[in-house]
């Protein structure tokens, strides 16, 4: 009797815990039906969201958008700064010529809250995996090969911190960033839409340096040195000519470059006649455009090949380096500037106090209305900056980020207040990301993306629909089968089966584990195993009844004997599930976790729970038959 009492308590506790974790899911505590109106600058309503389900604090236009448009309370007006995503504009049926920093207002007009649960209910909610809700999974490896053991350790730690900072500022809800082995970092960004932008942001080393531009004399020396080296060793580099032809042909095929030079002002090549090409192979690749040296797209491949040659790097006069300028985002295959700089770093990003995005003012068409990054140096940095700008008036100071020259303005006057600007052909997002990266600090060691998985939100919701449908239909057919084949006993088993699925979901919620597509597959497999446990028991009971035992003895013996089999079978499956968990990455882990939970839960529901029900049925009156 005492044993039965203990069992009853166990069952009640399990059900209460399950209920505790699942009720928020059913009640959708934080969700509300919202009506939202969006107005433009002139207070004209341009967009309306009606009868939508929104979570307070969630983003109206997707997670990558400005955080200022989070859904607030009723009556709160929400300011939307920036560009409304195209997919929303498409629904508007109007064409709006958006400025990059357009300001519009949204207003929450009405909210009907759904079941609000008491505050003592679980705050946890069943999370969906990236494959179901969409998002990005990134595996990063910190390149610590050249570092000592301690330095490697601290650089991984530093990288983790910096990546966390960058992502926090990027504004993704519930990001997961964790160190998973000695030098690997796993980043999971649920609900992310612009995968490439996030990837760029995370991987950027953002080594900001200020270098002075070389004077004309040094530039000429450098160019001549390379020219004469290539000329004297032409046999060795004859293949470069082939590359050039090939590259031109390829580029033409790819991008249909017109016969005419892309930029007519960039026409004055230093040396261009064909006979002299061998003589001045290098200088023939460079053109002058305004103040800058540029490389035309058809010469780009060859040019980069030459400056990357180790022998060429050796013969460049010491103290000089050649760097490419930034790609024009509007014409990524267009001409690119090239810079000759002194390799002494005058100042680095380490001296920065802050970096933020501003919009150019004034009349100058080159800067007005365009975003730029405003830099503020710390005291020490400001001192150096003032000294450098004072000593090198009328020279050019290049702003180099990750070995790419962003701009090289001419120093007009000594700058004392430690303020500087990085201008360039930035888009709003680029400028924002650059500021984030500069602000959050530099990665201590290069970080490589070694694995990336991105699932779009629409595919995720398709998968979830399909997965749930499959699970549900499978479950329905199986319960019907059990009901027909084992009648009342089958019904008891069916209830146990449904409890089993609910317990799995509750435990997943409790452990903060996410439900993934392989996880759904794991649940489906558990359904099979839970049914099997009951089939084993019922077949045994039938055997016992056939051999003439009473109902009471048959049930007791049936359970007693079947339990051995069930335990043996489940423990071996548990062994595989645990091994799978140890070895697996993301998706496999989800499968292993649900399978393990499912096995344990099914042993509880199929053995303990159903036995309790049977005992209850049999005890009440002396039974001579059993519906099985």
């Amino acid at each position: 009797m005492k044993k039965n009492w203990f069992r009853t308590v166990c069952i009640i506790v399990v059900f209460l815990v399950t209920f505790y974790y699942l009720l928020p899911l059913i009640g959708k505590k934080q969700y509300s039906i919202c009506n939202i109106e969006v107005y433009n600058q002139d207070s004209v309503k341009i967009y309306e969201v009606t009868e939508q389900e929104y979570k307070i604090g969630s983003n109206l236009f997707g997670p990558e958008f400005d955080e200022s448009i989070k859904i607030a309370d009723i009556g709160d007006s929400i300011t939307v700064k920036g560009r409304i995503p195209d997919d929303i504009l498409r629904n508007l049926d109007v064409e709006i010529d958006w400025d990059e920093n357009q300001i519009i207002k949204a207003k929450l007009v009405e909210r009907t809250a759904k079941v609000e649960l008491p505050s003592w209910f679980s705050k946890k909610e069943l999370k969906l995996g990236l494959d179901l809700q969409g998002g990005m999974h990134l595996m990063l490896e910190v390149d610590t090969e050249e570092l000592s053991k301690e330095a490697a350790e601290s650089s991984v730690k530093g990288a983790l911190e910096i990546i966390r900072n960058r992502i926090d500022q990027f504004g993704v809800s519930e990001p997961a960033i964790q160190k998973i082995s000695k030098n690997r970092i796993l980043v999971q960004l649920p609900g992310l839409r612009d995968a490439n932008r996030a990837k760029d942001l995370i991987g950027k080393t953002a080594l900001l340096e200020f270098n002075l531009a070389a004077n004309n004399e040094d530039i000429t020396k450098t160019v001549e040195a390379i020219d004469s080296y290539l000329k004297n060793n032409y046999d060795k580099y004859a293949y470069l000519g082939e590359i050039e032809e090939e590259a031109t042909a390829l580029e033409e095929a790819l991008f249909e470059i017109p016969e005419e030079p892309v930029d007519s002002t960039a026409d004055t090549t230093l040396v261009s006649t064909d006979e002299e090409k061998h003589e001045h192979l290098f200088s023939s690749l460079i053109a002058i455009y305004g103040q800058n040296f540029v490389v035309k797209p058809e010469n780009m491949k060859l040019f980069r090949k030459i400056i990357a040659l180790p022998e060429v790097m050796n013969i460049i006069p010491s103290g000089i380096m050649i760097l490419m300028g930034k790609v024009n985002p509007k014409d990524i295959y267009g001409t690119r500037p090239v810079y000759f700089l002194y390799d002494t770093v005058e100042l680095t990003g380490a001296s920065l106090k802050s970096a933020d995005v501003r919009i150019g003012q004034g009349m100058d068409p080159k800067t007005a209305g365009k975003p730029y990054v405003s830099l503020q140096f710390n005291n020490q940095g400001a001192g150096i900056f003032s000294k450098v700008t004072g000593e090198h008036r009328k020279e050019r100071l290049a702003i180099v980020l990750d070995d790419i020259v962003h701009s090289a303005p001419v120093i007009q006057d000594k700058i004392r207040d430690g303020n500087a600007q990085i201008t360039g052909n930035f888009t709003m997002n680029e400028a924002k990301d650059l500021a984030i990266v500069l602000q959050a600090g530099n990665l201590p060691a290069p970080v490589n993306i070694i694995e990336e998985r991105t699932v779009g939100p629409s595919l995720g919701s398709d998968s979830i629909r399909a997965g749930f449908k499959a699970a549900l239909i499978g479950l329905i057919i199986v319960t019907l089968f059990m009901l027909i084949y084992y009648k009342l006993s089958g019904f008891i088993a069916d209830i146990a089966l449904i409890c089993n699925v609910l317990i799995i979901m509750a435990v997943l919620t409790m452990l903060n584990a996410a439900l993934t597509l392989p996880g759904i597959a794991g649940i489906i497999l558990t359904i099979g195993m839970a049914v099997d446990a009951n089939v084993l028991i019922f077949e045994r009971i039938r055997e016992e009844l056939r051999s003439g035992k009473t109902v009471r003895t048959a049930v007791d013996n049936g359970y007693k004997r079947a339990i051995i089999t069930i335990a043996d079978a489940n423990i071996t499956t548990l062994i595989t599930a645990i091994v799978l968990y140890q070895f697996g990455t993301g998706p496999i882990k989800g499968f292993a976790v649900t399978l393990s939970i499912g096995i344990l839960a099914s042993m509880f529901t199929a053995i303990v729970f159903t036995k309790a029900v049977f005992d209850g049925i049999i005890k009440r009156k002396v039974r001579t038959s059993l519906s099985i």
Partner: protein, 317 residues
């Protein structure tokens, strides 16, 4: 309601036919593996990039995308080693490239080529609507995974042998593991014959099959162990046959119910999970078959062999 009323089928007598069928299936799988030079690994193991695109045209009345045009568009632009296949829906196209030096740039190039080439299917879409999902796996991590997968399978097989050894006897353990190898080899062969890829999810499915097939075998072995104690005078062969018949309705019912859920997963679970479900489907059928026709007869075969051996050695004395 009962499926079988006191079945009495002589499974052991038919073991030679079963062995023959198994060997034929295994050999055809191996032949397919040799022709295709090994199993077809997914990019999880080889490294590379995979992108799924949605080419659903803007105009709902126009015809679905012609996969050959996508193939031509990419191969004419230097992506001749890209594998292109339809995925679950005539407008969903999967592009895979295994050998890539610069995955990020390749991915961007592929997207811009396809958007330029198919303006009506892709030009007006946001990137996140056009590119449904993408995966990039470095070749280094792929190689690591290959090693890890093999170790995982070996460790779990070892764990199983030890557990069964402890619970039954060593012969049972080896018979069970032999049946598992049989199931895994046949399933890998079938995957190769049907041109399916082996990726991490499939490894998961293979291990699930190991679990399932084992479940079946153990249920049978428990009954055999029990009956060996009860019917000591009967022949070993007939005890085993008797045991198989006793648990037959349970075996069939469990297989059927599991098969039902896996079938619903296969037909309704969506394209992403399709190969996974296919693997489970093969495995469940083969696993049920192997516990009856492989694991149990192996016990008999071993018993016959060892008793012949002891006879021979006693004769020699």
């Amino acid at each position: 309601m009962r499926l079988f009323k006191n079945p009495n089928i002589d499974f052991i007598k038919r073991r030679k036919i079963a062995f023959f069928i198994s060997i034929i299936v295994i050999i055809s799988g191996i032949v397919s593996l040799i022709i295709n030079s090994g199993p077809k690994y997914g990019i999880d193991f080889t490294g590379g990039i995979l992108i799924e695109f949605d080419f659903t045209p803007d105009d709902p009345n126009s015809a679905p995308i012609d996969i050959q045009e996508v193939r031509d568009a990419l191969s004419s632009q230097g992506f001749s080693d890209a594998e292109i296949q339809e995925f679950g829906n005539p407008n969903h196209i999967l592009v895979k490239i295994r050998t890539t030096q610069n995955p990020k740039e390749d991915q961007l190039n592929i997207i811009s080529i396809l958007r330029d080439k198919f303006p009506d299917n892709a030009g007006n879409k946001q990137i996140s609507d056009f590119q449904l999902r993408s995966e990039q796996v470095g070749s280094k991590i792929g190689e690591e995974l290959q090693g890890k997968a093999i170790i995982a399978i070996l460790i779990s097989l070892l764990g199983i042998i030890i557990y069964i050894w402890w619970r039954f006897e060593l012969t049972f353990g080896f018979a069970a593991v032999l049946a598992l190898f049989h199931d895994v080899i046949i399933t890998i062969g079938l995957l190769s014959i049907f041109g399916k890829e082996i990726n991490i999810a499939i490894i998961g499915a293979l291990l699930a099959i190991v679990g399932y097939s084992l479940n079946d075998t153990i249920v049978l072995f428990v009954r055999i162990r029990e009956n060996l104690k009860v019917y000591r005078r009967e022949k070993y062969k007939s005890i085993i046959n008797h045991s198989i018949n006793e648990v037959l309705s349970r075996t069939i019912i469990t297989s059927l119910t599991t098969l039902i859920v896996v079938l619903s997963l296969y037909f309704l679970g969506g394209a992403v999970i399709n190969d996974f479900a296919f693997t489970l489907l093969c495995g469940i059928i083969v696993g049920t078959y192997s516990s009856i026709f492989i694991a149990s007869p192996v016990l008999v075969a071993y018993r016959n062999w060892s008793s012949r051996k002891t006879e021979r050695s006693s004769k020699r004395k």
